[in-house]
């Protein structure tokens, strides 16, 4: 098999797998929430209610593709695609297993961070182009949220980069053969998870959406598959952050007995469940409080973490 063919196979496989995982998450999240909330969740359609995924997809696809007359048409249509594109592109640098992955960039970590910054445009533009007050407030909150978590999200990962000596995600995984980074980089892990929650707009940081305050926030005016893209985009984001956390802090595909792909999936799933658990547990802070936490606590903490990691590394191995 030529190099190109393999890359294409990987690409197709990963896109397909990631998209079906995202769709499957609809069911997983609803069932998990139900378990934690003393209810049943979707259990009617098909075995264990798994048919719900299909039913939801069909419903979204067949809904009228409506654009409100007062919206800014081109931007309104473009906004949901941005989140899909940026998140899917980010998956390109996630190493699935030895030999499986779309591309190994030597700046993989930076690429992911760049894509995540671009992804925030999706929500801001959606809020702006909808030309509705609730959407606008949601978009504004998304912008304020972005300047809160972006600052420490990158810094949280720099400790890992210092330890691995590379921005390449595959080399970062290889560097964890002797021990996962979740131990020495515990602070970085916590900060990255918080940033990840904020990045994916999941409770407790679903401020741009905030049902009880802004109805549906930035996507109030969206329906049908365009809403579906935000919906799937959110789940894709959850998978991405979970897969990245696995790669950066929990040794990626590394693990005994089982095939590497299975290890990655297992670890990712545990993190996804953690995301759902957060949603089931925590109340939502106010957006100014989120900014406060981010700048007053997490930014200094990640800076300290980076400085200490760097100092120890220098002391142990020399410049």
């Amino acid at each position: 098999m030529t190099e190109t063919a393999r890359a294409l196979w990987s690409l197709g496989g990963i896109v397909l797998a990631v998209l079906s995982l995202a769709a499957g998450l609809i069911w997983v999240e609803r069932r998990l929430l139900a378990v934690w909330q003393e209810r049943y969740g979707p259990n009617r359609v098909g075995p264990l209610g798994l048919g719900q995924v299909l039913a939801d997809t069909v419903k979204l696809l067949f809904k009228e593709d409506w654009i409100p007359p007062f919206a800014d048409r081109p931007v309104f249509v473009l906004a949901p695609t941005i989140v899909m594109i940026t998140v899917l592109t980010s998956f390109a640098v996630v190493p699935v297993a030895p030999g499986i992955g779309v591309v190994d960039l030597n700046v993989g970590v930076l690429f992911v961070l760049a894509m995540s910054s671009l992804g925030a445009y999706s929500v801001v533009l959606a809020g702006w182009s909808s030309n509705s007050k609730y959407s606008l407030l949601g978009g504004l909150r998304a912008a304020s949220q972005m300047i809160s978590y972006e600052v420490f999200m990158g810094l949280a990962l720099m400790g890992v980069v210092v330890l691995a000596g590379s921005f390449d995600l595959r080399r970062i995984v290889e560097a964890q053969r002797d021990g996962w980074f979740c131990g020495p980089q515990l602070l970085g892990l916590v900060a990255f998870l918080v940033a990840g929650l904020a990045e994916t707009h999941r409770l407790p940081f679903d401020l741009p959406e905030a049902e009880s305050e802004l109805v549906a926030g930035f996507h109030s005016e969206y329906s049908g598959m365009k809403f579906g893209m935000f919906f799937v985009g959110e789940y894709l984001g959850v998978i991405l952050i979970s897969a990245l956390t696995t790669t950066l802090f929990f040794g990626g595909w590394l693990g005994p007995w089982l095939p590497p792909v299975v290890w990655l999936l297992l670890k990712t799933f545990v993190l996804i469940a953690f995301f759902v658990l957060c949603r089931a547990t925590l109340p939502r802070p106010r957006f100014d409080q989120l900014t406060g936490y981010a700048w007053k606590w997490l930014l200094p903490l990640t800076l300290v973490n980076l400085a200490v990691t760097g100092a120890i590394r220098l002391a142990l191995e020399g410049p």
């Binding site: 407030l137 504004l140 009880s212 957006f287």
Partner: protein, 599 residues
């Protein structure tokens, strides 16, 4: 059987000797006002004085600020259309009467001040400068009766649509759709109605912008996930900071007070259930206490305790819904499900006792509909063992949570004085450190024989209100436990000719009893003329019914004073300067029900 006129044991313990305030007022105003000053005797023993329209404000000012042991709270303000009323002994001539009901905490006494107004366009000076809460009450009286309050800042309709013709609680206003033109909504009319609802900031004295930036005006509701019903709040925003709020209520108005005038005394009971629709039978109680006092009925001990037990179970159910939805409003999604599971267990009990769940309409004039079913004590006992652990869980799960505290501590805070000025009662008042509870202060229905505490908290903010209600649930459990342990035996309905439905056994033996039974069932009982009010500690605060009987089979006037109405009125005052998310926390914490606001 008790003879009418004797003091029923079920009545709140208001002293029946001549209240001191009447003498004080007579000395102060008697000479000055001459024949304009008059004292009226009432069945419920609430001191009632008539004053001329021009002097009302002065007298009220005196009562609020000058008299020793003053009346700081305007508990209720309403009107009566007297034009068709027959029994008006020792009352001055009047077409419309405006009634101020004041509450003195020091005296633990109510006082009714009445003002007689003549003619088709009655008017009198506004008291909005004396009490903040008078604003909405005066607007309501204007809306319902067309009484003009001179000097009121925004004397507009409040419950009816702005385009409504006529004043619904006037006796000449039709009460049924069949008495009116058939309703048709043409395209043009729909447009006009929608246009009439448009919010214009200038009407409320708001500016559209500051020197360098515009304000955002946001319609929150009438359909909004955070308002718990059809409530509309027009927000004036600077960014997300709230500059001002104008609540627009009335979307849930069903004319409960007007309906009372067309229902028999008995058939109005189920309508009361739907006023505070989370409170179920709690709503029956103040209405029936007032009716029973008019009729002179003494409720047997077993019926009283069944009432107390069901009322406390409904208090628990209501508080659980409140707690769940409140924390959901601040973003905590799970507790509401746990609490609805608990509430379902309460409804299992209610269903076993009453056959219905949310609105059993179970209380009757003189008692309750039926005795408790076999096995009720085990059912309630199991629940009493089950809930305390769950409450402990909720307390640990929610109250110490850092984010929850950040969202609620110091948000929507008011002081005790502000609360009283705005007419706040119930847990909202007790969260300001003021332990006023009608169950303790004016025990009704046998609360004086039960042992419970009145929880209070300090701060008057959203967090304090949560603390109070959580502890109240524990106290309710204590009361229910005592009801299970000490349920007296005996009758569940008074043996009184006016109790409903009337007793059956002897109807088939003599014709007189059969006729009386037939009339009492078909027309309903004739309640003796008079006026009586009863107030209870309902789930959300003080719920009071003020009934006027003209010696007919139906109320001449039924005034429903609900706690949610003044509480909602206070929302703008406590939300200014906060952010939009805080407004939702405030709304969640004050615990209102739209039907309880709009009736």
């Amino acid at each position: 059987m008790t003879s009418p006129g004797s003091s029923p044991a079920d009545a709140p313990s208001i002293p029946h000797e001549r209240p001191e305030i009447l003498g004080q007022l007579e000395r102060r105003f008697g000479d000055e006002l001459g024949a304009g000053f008059r004292v009226q005797a009432t069945v419920d023993g609430v001191p009632t004085v008539w004053v001329p329209a021009g002097d009302a404000e002065r007298v009220l000012h005196h009562l609020k600020l000058e008299v020793e042991r003053p009346y700081p709270m305007l508990f209720d303000l309403t009107a009566i259309d007297e034009r068709l009323r027959g029994h008006r002994r020792d009352q001055p001539a009047s077409d419309f009467t405006v009634v101020y009901q004041l509450l003195s905490f020091d005296r633990n006494e109510d006082l009714r001040v009445k003002v007689a107004l003549a003619g088709d366009a009655p008017s009198l000076p506004s008291v909005t400068s004396l009490w903040s809460c008078a604003d909405w009450y005066e607007r309501e009286a204007f809306d319902m009766f067309g009484v003009r309050f001179e000097g009121h800042p925004h004397l507009q309709r409040i419950l009816m649509p702005p385009t409504w013709k006529g004043h619904p609680l006037r006796k000449d206003h039709p009460a049924r759709a069949t008495e009116m033109e058939p309703f048709r909504q043409s395209e043009a009319r729909q447009e006009a109605e929608q246009e009439a609802l448009r919010f214009r900031p200038e009407d409320w004295g708001m500016k559209r912008g500051d020197d360098d930036h515009d304000f955002l005006f946001l319609n929150l509701g009438p359909q909004h996930p955070g308002t718990h019903g059809v409530l509309r709040l027009a927000l004036q925003l600077d960014g997300e900071e709230i500059v001002d709020v104008v609540p627009d209520i009335g979307y849930h108005h069903r004319g409960a007070e007007k309906m009372a005038e067309r229902q028999s005394w008995h058939t109005f009971i189920p309508y009361t259930d739907r006023v505070d629709y989370l409170g179920g039978v709690t709503n029956n109680l103040p209405y029936l206490l007032a009716v029973e006092r008019l009729a002179g009925i003494e409720v047997p001990p077993r019926a009283r305790m069944i009432r107390v037990m069901l009322v406390e179970l409904f208090r628990l159910a209501s508080h659980l819904v409140w707690f769940g939805t409140f924390v959901q409003d601040v973003g905590m999604l799970s507790p509401v499900f746990y609490m609805f599971v608990d509430r379902e267990r309460i409804f299992d009990i209610v269903e076993a006792v009453c056959g219905a769940r949310m609105h059993p309409g179970w209380f009757r004039i003189g008692g309750v509909a039926q005795d408790l079913p076999r096995g009720w004590d085990d059912l309630v006992g199991d629940f009493l063992d089950y809930l305390p652990r769950r409450l402990d869980d909720y307390e640990r799960m929610i109250l110490p949570n850092r984010i929850f505290r950040d969202r609620t501590v110091g948000i929507g805070a008011y002081t005790r004085e502000e609360a009283i000025d705005w007419g706040v009662t119930g847990p909202g008042l007790r969260a300001c450190g003021f332990g006023w509870d009608f169950r303790k202060e004016r025990p009704y229905s046998g609360y004086d024989e039960l042992d419970f505490d009145v929880p209070i908290a300090e701060g008057g903010d959203c967090y304090a209100r949560a603390e109070v209600r959580l502890e109240e649930m524990r106290q309710s459990l204590r009361i229910v436990r005592q009801c299970v342990d000490g349920m007296p035996s005996g009758e569940t309905k008074a043996d009184h000719p006016l109790a409903t439905p009337p007793r059956k056994p002897r109807t088939m033996e003599d014709i007189e009893t059969l006729i009386h039974h037939f009339l009492s069932v078909s027309w309903g009982p004739v309640i003796p003329p008079g006026e009586s009010a009863a107030t209870i500690e309902a789930t959300k605060g003080a719920n009071g019914y003020y009934l006027v009987s003209d010696g007919e089979t139906r109320p001449y006037r039924a005034r429903i004073r609900t706690p949610s109405f003044p509480h909602m009125q206070m929302v703008p005052w406590i939300s200014r300067g906060h952010l939009v998310p805080d407004l939702l926390a405030v709304l969640g914490s004050i615990d209102f029900v739209l039907a309880d606001i709009d009736r």
